[in-house]
């Protein structure tokens, strides 16, 4: 089963979508973007709720464009579940015309046995989404679309259902398009992530590729990367580049890793945006980091914030360049972080990603 979107375009009065090209095999493609970026439009087009102005959508080689919803064999889980309020959970799951055995099987899989005879208004948000998922799976769809099914749930339930979805998706053998505006959900559930903005796909790749090697500033920012600095290439060797950022110099790893965005062609003197994902940065005691290895920078803590499980710490290394990263509480305590204290910032060369200036949007 492969879902293929080719040169898909549509437009509304104030919104242009596309052209979008995507291929989803038996995997989960998480579509990540801010509200109004066209995520839901993408799902509507695949589901058949709206028709494109041009382009094609094929599922296993069969063209879907022009076919009505009911003839597409594409299952959709709506944001609020869209359960039929006048039917019990059991009737909802059985709606596609499946037998009792299948309903029982799905109820067991999604832990719904206790709520099958209740009506949707009496179910909790998490239960509603489970019923919606069971109802969609009951129809045995050839592709599965999910429109932010976790967005209206409380954090603990969201986390638990996210884990369950991860296991469920692994057991499915169909293309899954999962739309979300939450980077954590996208990286947790997506085999690959597609970042969308203003109706176009900015970047597609594995979660680590998208997080560590964003192709532009928007992708970097939207995946939680605040560490974006203007820099200039000062030296290049066959193995790496040196980039001047403020008062500091950063060394990159072998350029092969970053060929995709044209780093190979970066000459000495080129302007670049330096991107370092916060998760790749380590903080250390400035005294212990004497020899430090590559890219050991010393700076001053300018602010920190307790975010529940982690501390968010910003360390300025001079000339307004401040690296932000998260540290676990034990590390935070061990380092004795406080505003104004000195800290070493360790940036592995392979975490230093360069975005060439022309790619800037």
């Amino acid at each position: 089963m492969t879902l293929t979107l080719s040169a898909l375009e549509t437009s509304y009065a104030d919104f242009e979508f596309g052209p979008v090209d995507l291929t989803v095999d038996r995997e989960v493609l998480a579509v990540l973007g801010p509200s109004g970026s066209g995520k839901t439009t993408l799902l509507s087009l695949v589901a058949g709720i709206t028709e494109p102005d041009s382009g094609s959508i094929t599922l296993d080689g069969h063209e879907l464009v022009g076919r009505p919803l009911e003839a597409r064999n594409v299952g959709m889980v709506f944001q609020d579940g869209a359960l039929f309020p006048h039917m019990t959970a059991r009737e909802n799951v059985a709606y596609a015309g499946v037998g009792d055995d299948r309903v029982t099987e799905l109820a067991a899989m999604l832990e719904l046995r206790g709520v099958l005879d209740r009506r949707p208004p009496t179910l909790s948000g998490g239960e509603r989404q489970r019923v919606a998922l069971a109802r969609t799976l009951a129809a045995d769809p050839g592709a599965l679309l999910l429109d932010e099914p976790l967005s209206s749930l409380d954090a603990p339930i969201r986390r638990r259902l996210r884990e369950e979805l991860h296991d469920l998706f692994a057991s499915l053998d169909v293309p899954v398009l999962y739309v979300t505006h939450d980077q954590r959900t996208a990286t947790a559930l997506g085999d690959r992530i597609a970042i969308v903005r203003d109706g176009v796909v900015e970047q597609v790749g594995t979660p680590s590729a998208v997080l560590d090697r964003p192709e532009n500033r928007f992708v970097a920012r939207f995946t939680g990367n605040e560490n974006l600095f203007e820099g200039r290439v000062t030296e290049r060797t066959p193995a790496s580049l040196r980039v001047r950022v403020g008062d500091a110099t950063l060394r990159t790893a072998a350029t092969a890793e970053t060929d995709a965005v044209g780093v190979e062609s970066l000459a000495v003197g080129s302007s670049v945006t330096v991107s370092v994902h916060p998760s790749r940065i380590e903080l250390a005691d400035p005294d212990a980091a004497t020899d430090g290895g590559p890219n050991a920078l010393v700076g001053t803590v300018t602010r920190w914030l307790h975010e529940g499980t982690d501390y968010r710490v910003a360390v300025e290394i001079g000339d307004g360049v401040a690296f932000t990263t998260s540290v676990r509480p034990p590390t935070f305590d061990r380092l004795g972080v406080e505003r104004g204290s000195g800290l070493a910032v360790s940036v592995p060369p392979d975490a230093v990603h360069l975005i060439p200036a022309p790619a800037e949007r």
Binding site: A82, F84, H86, G97, A139
Partner: protein
């Protein structure tokens, strides 16, 4: 007028009391004439008058014509209501305006308008009369007049009922392999049902009470409102009471239906 002295000593109007008095007077204005109507005629007089053939015939004509009107208004009104609720085109505003027009038009004007199309000297009227179905001074004429003024209630109320059904429920049903008709039958109609029933009940009540357009189009066979008018003109108010009481009873029953099986749009 109720007033209250504040701590500051400034006397201010107690607006809640004022509102209650104003509202109470209005309710009294509705109830008093109805109560007075029922007190104006003795039960014996009512029963004997209701036994007269002219009254029985008027009641039959009214019930029959209002029933046919309701069926027609529903059959033609529901598809239009659904289209108005779901279509995303600027034409819906214009069409809705046209649908509401009979509601704001004086009924007699409605009758005049209809006469210009189906009157005895018009093309349609002559053709229908030649075919043996005269459109004026006939049951068909009564139904035409009632449909003109009553069917908008079905369209407007059902439109609101359809709009209250979340469109994503229809998409969900269809993505589960059910076609448009199965989706309408299983999802849309059951959920919009109470609202639609309210529209149908309102249309029936309006059709039963229709007078102005009916007078213009079809004085005969007499409906109950026409019978009341004729009795009032020929024999005075007393002879109009029993028919009026019958009409009030039918209207109250319609309201009861509205409040029990249907969703009263104004509750």
């Amino acid at each position: 007028m109720a007033t209250r002295t504040r701590e500051s000593g400034v006397r201010s109007v107690d607006w809640l009391s004022v509102a209650l008095v104003l509202g109470g007077l209005l309710v009294l204005y509705y109830v008093a004439p109805l109560a007075s109507l029922f007190l104006s005629a003795s039960p014996g007089a009512v029963l004997s008058r209701l036994g007269e053939s002219s009254v029985r015939s008027a009641a039959t004509t009214s019930l029959l014509s209002a029933s046919i009107t309701t069926v027609l208004a529903t059959a033609f009104g529901l598809p239009l209501a659904y289209w108005l609720a779901r279509a995303e085109t600027r034409w819906t505003g214009l069409v809705l305006g046209i649908v509401v027009l009979p509601l704001v038009l004086p009924p007699t004007v409605g009758g005049v308008v209809l006469l210009t199309v189906v009157g005895p000297n018009t093309l349609v009227g002559e053709w229908a009369a030649a075919a043996g179905v005269p459109l004026t001074r006939s049951l068909a004429g009564v139904v035409l007049a009632q449909t003109f003024v009553a069917s908008p209630f079905v369209v407007v109320t059902a439109k609101a009922a359809f709009e209250s059904v979340d469109e994503s429920l229809e998409y969900a049903s269809r993505s589960l392999g059910k076609g448009r008709w199965a989706t309408a039958r299983n999802v849309t109609l059951p959920l919009a049902g109470p609202g639609i029933l309210a529209g149908i009940t309102l249309a029936f009540a309006r059709a039963i009470g229709e007078f102005g357009a009916t007078m213009m189009l079809s004085y005969f066979p007499r409906t109950m409102p026409v019978e009341i008018w004729v009795s009032f003109q020929a024999l005075g108010l007393d002879s109009a009471y029993p028919v009026a009481i019958l009409l009030v009873v039918i209207s109250v029953v319609a309201l009861l239906v509205l409040n029990t099986v249907a969703r009263n749009p104004w509750r």
